[in-house]
Symmetry: C2
Subunit: 317 residues, 2 copies
């Protein structure tokens, strides 16, 4: 059915390692989709126009007048053209105002969504590129009554608060990257047997992270428990990866929830997760242990977000 | 002068990646010393007897009756023979009681010092091997009036409290290993230009670590500031390594000092550092920023510790 709808936008989620493309109908339905390993680091000689033609040329031949809009690292200094960060609070209007435009093949244009920077007094800036579009897409799909807490787990996890359609705060956590480098390179990785698939060890890691007593230390000390527990056979080698995953995700929750509470007070939270399904399930389990309700965002948040930004920018004619 | 004293012990600091050997006089003076890349991971076919002969054979030929004592990973499961961990609190008597003995070439014996395990209710165990000997050596060189706080910075930094000649508490922090894997494998490492030699950026990292406000997050969030500050040219590429070093060492101090205060109360601390000189200076600078007095232990703490343990065990005849 949805394949019969007319596309109104070519939407591109163009990141560091992958490119996803969508033909989107005016109601946000994804009519067709493609993905390819054509992230900005994989594009030969930085010829982004050729990469766009390769991935979406057939669509563009069929729909020569279709406007095109991209979000993600394609707008970074290493991408096609830098789209300077919009300052938070940022919503559809601020992002639409910050679009930059590049020329593709045969006179085609591609607009690029800016990232967002969050600045607070006396703290380093924080940045995102691509996640802002996903969050605004999720808000467009299901407009909330009050503030929304978003979690986008991954290499650099993002936590954010949206109020009245704008991203008012966010923070980045290097959880996924830390897990990856510790697994690949550290003594903990050398002790691991197998992947992170042991639910019991994952929950033990969560529990260790949650111990806030001074004697328990924080992350630098708690990481060593993966080694010492394994040494005394109190943690199976097959559980070390899951234990480390629980320890890191639990630590991220502690850090992020403290910051969120500082902004929103002690009101009950409902967290919206946007991300890969298996990882999102781990976060839902971790949130549930802290009595926090979480749910997955509607799918295709990026396509919906790009449509909403294109509408706000008057790109749809 | 010291070369004229008669040796009373062959002392070996036999770790994972290196072997250091000392001829020690009865007053703790090191008469001769050697070191070699013959850590337990480098000993071919696990033939530790051959490695000992190679490094100390000439000495042993000159002093055939000299007792020999080793500490470090040589007593681990991967070493010559496992010397089961002594339980903390542990001092000279407990370590002497836990010695194991192996047979070298030509009927020679080598005694091996056990490591120490610290167990607290409802927390994972913590372990050390080699550091216990260094600390007891430092205590023997300069017996303190009250409790001593030790810091042994490194790949797996140790903090410990000694009271009345015994190690009563300790904790391990994976600071050095985290620095190494982030430098080698993460986006932070890829952004770095040069080594950690920028004092200003080191102190900025310390200051970021010290921000305990909920909005500041903890390590997982603070790590990303090395990326975001660099992105806006607020941190030079040549300062990223030092900033990360300051952030990690400062975070270790926060974790460790909270645990130490929980044990010792708010009394003024004087911290004794045992470790490599350049790294120890960074820790002294970090402690000084928190108004904590630190000083370096007397040199040759391992040799002194091994002598004291040998005396306690009656090895010196």
């Amino acid at each position: 059915m949805s394949a019969e709808k007319a596309p109104t936008l070519l939407a591109l989620d163009w990141g560091t390692t992958s490119l996803r493309a969508f033909l989107v109908a005016v109601d946000g339905t994804v009519v067709e989709r493609l993905s390819a390993p054509r992230g900005i680091l994989q594009v030969k000689d930085g010829d982004f126009a050729a990469a766009l033609e390769e991935i979406a040329g057939a669509w563009l031949a069929r729909h020569p007048e279709l406007p095109a809009l991209a979000s993600g690292m394609i707008g970074s200094r290493q991408g096609w053209r830098e789209a300077p960060y919009a300052e938070a609070p940022a919503g559809l209007a601020e992002l639409a105002k910050g679009l930059v435009s590049v020329a593709g093949r045969q006179g085609r244009r591609l607009a690029i969504v800016p990232g967002v920077v969050y600045r607070a007094a006396a703290a380093p800036p924080d940045v995102m590129r691509g996640e802002e579009t996903q969050m605004l897409g999720a808000l467009a799909a299901a407009p909330p009554a009050g503030p929304t807490v978003f979690v986008l787990p991954g290499t650099h996890s993002k936590w954010a608060i949206a109020e009245a359609g704008r991203i008012v705060w966010f923070a980045t956590f290097m959880t996924g990257e830390l897990y990856a480098v510790l697994k690949a390179e550290s003594i903990l990785g050398r002790l691991m047997a197998g992947e992170a698939e042991d639910a019991r060890s994952f929950h033990r890691g969560l529990a260790r992270a949650a111990d806030a007593s001074p004697a328990a230390g924080a992350l630098l000390h708690k990481l060593f428990s993966a080694r010492s527990l394994a040494l005394f056979d109190e943690l199976p080698a097959s559980g070390i990866a899951s234990y480390l995953s629980g320890l890191l995700i639990g630590s991220e929750l502690d850090e992020a929830l403290a910051a969120v509470s500082a902004r929103l007070g002690a009101r009950p939270l409902r967290v919206t997760l946007i991300g890969e399904a298996a990882l999102s399930r781990l976060y839902l389990a971790a949130l549930a242990e802290r009595q926090i309700a979480g749910h997955l965002a509607e799918p295709d948040a990026t396509a919906r977000g790009l449509l909403a930004i294109a509408q706000a920018a008057g790109l749809l004619g």
